[in-house]
Amino acid sequence: MVDYRPHERKLILKVVFYGPALSGKTTNLMQLHNLLKPQRKGELMVLETRDDRTLFFDLLPIGLRGEQGLDLRLKIYTVPGQVQHDSTRKAVLSRADGVIFVADSQPLQQDNNANAFENLAENLTKLGMTIEQLPLVIQFNKRDLEGAVAESELRMRWRETPWAPLCMASALNGHGVVESFRALLERLYPQLNHEFHLHSNEGISAEHFIRQLSAVAGEDHA
């Protein structure tokens, strides 16, 4: 849930990168850290183990200030993908405002994708949320790999779901990462605006919201 503290004029949102092990969630976050030039950007916090597997989570805080002084922050987390870390995954997922599901495009990983997606739905239910109502973007990563499942096939498979269109990415090369993030911001904004009247009260329009939080080098903030 959104953490809104009216007396501090602070709105803290939480976005979570979810997905099977080794699908590139941390890579996505590192690329966001490298590529994004939002109004405010904190340090990237990576809590990985010796073999570069995420044990707890990674965190990147970014933020913007509204015209009326609202301190809007977005904490972007990754979860550990390995099956055994489910309680950690659930703790990170709790009170999430949006999820980017990072799936692996390799054919042999399709079962893992499905299991992780099911796990996401289950954990959301346990945390009192429903997957259909949560802003959710599905990204198929590792498009650069040879033998990746054809994009047309993936799009066809997901066409009838509420999560179409899919995002295609090659996080290692920085492709599609910001686009996925923007897709999520687009789905997140209407819910926030509905609840906090960002546009009318804070002077934060959808365009402003997305541009300020997902600006990249060479783009103007103003």
Binding site: E43, M45, L55, I62, R73, K90, A91, V92
Partner: protein, 376 residues
């Protein structure tokens, strides 16, 4: 409850002593005095962690030192915070896992208790079932035995009937012959004595044969051998034969008092009615234990009904037992001593005659059974 991801305060991350030491180290390195406050200081540099302003650092006159010192503090706080977040996260998940384990443990205990209860219940039910089976087996054995005895009695009665018939008739003829022979014999004292003795022998034999005939008749009435359709029967006569049979069994020692009044004939099964009377009387006999006990057998003719009352002043039936006395196979007697069918059969027989049976009993005072039949 604080979640692992709540933004920490400065003092959550470093204790005042550590903070003081850190600050003095930076002061030594920079050769400038620094001031660190959680509340806003004019011209000071914010110290941030995850975009959250934790404190303000001020170094009068040296904004460059102030800025470098603030970044150094942030750098250090970053690693402190990283550890703190991970530790909080670990704490949270461990507690959640533990709570989950406890929930599972409680659920397991509950289900274990339920299963234990179920198993105990099953055991009691099995025990009860085994008891019922054992009892039923005994009862089957008993009723089979009773039936066998009844058939044997009927068979014996039938077989004895003919010889007893010709023994009786032959004895009468023998008496006549004896009278004729006596006239042709010498008229001396010895012969007279012998003849007198002979007559006595014959007369005793005749009465003995008559008694045998009576017992055979009772047995035939009692057993189901003569069963036919409803026939007009006299309840008084049936009561009489049943009493004879009982007396014969108890060597004529029973204190039975008959107070019979004349009854109109009743359509029914004589054998079955005798059986019912026998069962009730047999219970009455067994209820008499002390001296001076008595069984009264009363018959009364009313306008629409006739009543048979059999009452004793014996031990009586306890209140709680009274409810069960008509239940099949209910008995208070030791195993093998009673079939538990006596009053059940009596009730069924009376019901078959569209009559009713009523029990009045007082423990220690005696028991009265009233049978009521409607005149047709």
């Amino acid at each position: 409850m604080r979640s692992f991801e709540d933004d920490p305060k400065l003092l959550d991350m470093l204790s005042p002593e550590r903070l003081k030491r850190l600050l003095s180290l930076i002061e030594t390195l920079s050769s400038h005095s620094l001031r660190l406050e959680e509340k806003y200081l004019k011209e000071a540099e914010p110290v941030e962690f995850n975009l959250e302003c934790l404190a303000w650092l001020h170094c009068p006159g040296r904004p460059d030192v102030q800025q470098a010192a603030a970044r150094l503090l942030e750098f250090i706080l970053m690693y402190v915070g990283k550890y703190r977040l991970a530790a909080n996260m670990h704490h949270d998940t461990t507690r959640a896992s533990y709570a989950e384990l406890e929930r599972q443990n409680i659920a397991l205990q509950v289900s274990e208790a339920r299963f234990r209860l179920l198993s105990e219940e099953l055991q009691t039910r099995v025990d009860a079932q085994v008891k019922i089976i054992e009892k039923t087996q005994r009862q089957l054995y008993e009723s089979a035995r009773l039936r066998a005895v009844g058939q044997l009695a009927a068979g014996v009665a039938h077989e004895i009937n003919n010889p007893v018939g010709f023994i009786s008739s032959n004895l009468r003829v023998a008496s006549d012959y004896l009278n004729e022979i006596s006239e042709k014999l010498p008229d001396d004292k010895n012969t007279h004595l012998m003849l007198e003795d002979f007559r006595a022998l014959l007369s005793e034999s005749v009465s003995g044969a008559r008694r045998i005939a009576t017992i055979v008749t009772d047995l035939k009435t009692f057993s189901n051998i003569d069963q036919a359709d409803f026939t007009p029967c006299s309840l008084n006569a049936l009561l009489g034969t049943t009493c004879h049979l009982l007396q014969a069994e108890h060597k004529a020692t029973l204190p039975l008092r008959m107070e019979l009044t004349e009854l109109s004939p009743l359509a029914g099964y004589p054998a079955k009615l005798s059986q019912a009377f026998y069962n009730i009387l047999d219970n009455a006999v067994k209820a008499l234990e002390k001296e001076g006990g008595e069984i009264r057998i009363i018959s009364r003719q009313h306008q629409a009904t006739q009543e048979i009352i059999i009452e004793d002043n014996g031990c009586g039936i306890p209140q709680d037992v009274q409810a069960c006395v008509f239940d099949p196979f209910f008995t208070t007697r030791p195993v093998g001593a009673g079939s538990g069918l006596g009053l059940t059969v009596a009730r069924d027989v009376i019901a078959a005659h569209e009559g009713e049976i009523q029990l009045d009993s007082q423990e220690g005072q005696g028991t009265r059974i009233t049978l009521r039949f409607w005149n047709k």
